[in-house]
Symmetry: C2
Subunit: 251 residues, 2 copies
């Protein structure tokens, strides 16, 4: 096993997996570690849906714009904000739950995301590869259908998991001083932005990316192709509707 | 250094810290590891505010209901969803950012939380102690004032960090089968709930907790004392107002 420093520093997202199954004992061990993550008031207001059946993964695939990882990865994990279980317990114990509101949704989402990341690190420490799928919040309503999520449960992120069949180059990150602020937030001057994004823009992979997309700048690849305003607006409305439908907007 | 399994399995939140400072080289190393966490489209739409000045921590304390940890911990980390930096870069590069909506806020919150949890694990691996503060989303508007967060930036969680001056008993967790579902969500019968919560309710610390709060059941301590509906409703309204004020509700 590698030491934790290299596990965290040398990591990269893995999108291609071998056919090898993830041993169930190892997998349970990883889940157990994940569930030791911090959780609000020890409420554990999250659920993890483990999908490995090929038919079920095929049903999930369109929810993630048919990215191949969903059907090819041996395991797909959907992490959900979940106040259903906790509220059921309250009702059984003569206690009236008051968790059908936005704050409670967000609390549960935090819980779910801390567990997700702990599971990812535990998995990577065993040599497994993971990849997060941002599509979960775009298509939450469809995922709710496929995974039969009841009221009080909303999917917040998805992770594919398996033994790596690739070792891609590590992507770049902004310099630490670009994302860390001392004492209070120090807002960015144009000069700061120039300095922080320069090496990212100069990378040949990013230059290639601009060219392939027939854009003038790398930023335009994000605003015009990858994360467009029109999509964001539409998905925002859909996600807020999901929160309402799942019973989290009764404040 | 301990191995990763025991770091993840034997962890507990630490609320009391020694006077010893956190060495800046070690701290930078931990932040660097954190910033290798997965991030949506490699946008890194988060910021980390590091507060260690005693006066600034004292200003933050009321935002966290004056929990002693804030002033006593050598370092307070406020993790923020941040589309300010990215949008500034877009505008400098002839690209029109479309990230003033709820979907973008939630995307940035996910980014911030994955970094937070990676930093916590990296810190714990070095023997440091951490504790999350759920108060961040209750008092986001006040934190924004104290930390001078501009439009496009919202605090989502806070972590105190330092060398442990305590080793509390490890709290319990629900059995794995209570939070993990196979293929699809299997909703809970009353019998399931009884089985999953039984050992938690039987613990002497939890029985003591019920007694101290003059309640009939452990669930009532949550619904009537710790996480009350009236508070949740009020904080929901406040948090949604913060999202509006910080420019994230223009869908």
């Amino acid at each position: 096993m590698n030491d934790i420093s290299s596990i965290l520093l040398d990591r990269r997202s893995i999108r291609k997996y071998t056919q090898k199954k993830v041993d169930s004992e190892l997998f349970n061990d990883i889940l157990t570690k994940g569930c030791r993550a911090s959780t609000t008031g020890n409420m554990q207001v999250y659920s993890i849906i483990v999908t490995s059946d090929i038919e079920k993964k095929s049903e999930l695939a369109p929810c993630h714009f048919n990215q191949k990882m969903i059907t090819e990865a041996p395991v797909v994990l959907t992490f959900c904000a979940d106040f259903n279980r906790f509220s059921k317990w309250c009702r059984l114990r003569n206690a009236e739950p008051g968790y059908d509101n936005f704050l409670s949704f967000f609390t549960a989402a935090i819980d779910a995301l801390l567990v997700a990341q702990t599971i990812c690190i535990a998995a990577e420490a065993e040599g497994l590869g993971i990849c997060y799928l941002g599509t979960t919040t775009y298509m939450a309503h469809k995922i709710i259908e496929v995974l039969k999520l009841p009221s009080g449960v909303v999917p917040v992120t998805t992770v594919t998991l398996g033994w790596p069949a690739e070792k891609p180059d590590q992507v770049d990150r902004l310099p630490l001083e670009a994302v860390v602020h001392n004492e209070v937030y120090s807002d960015y001057s144009d000069k700061d932005i120039e300095a922080f994004y320069k090496s990212r823009e100069m990378r040949s992979d990013n230059k290639q990316f601009v060219k392939e997309n027939s854009k003038e700048t790398l930023a335009q690849v994000f605003t015009d192709v990858r994360y467009k305003k029109s999509d964001n607006v539409q998905f925002s409305e859909m996600l807020l509707q999901v929160l309402k439908d799942q019973g989290f907007m009764n404040q």
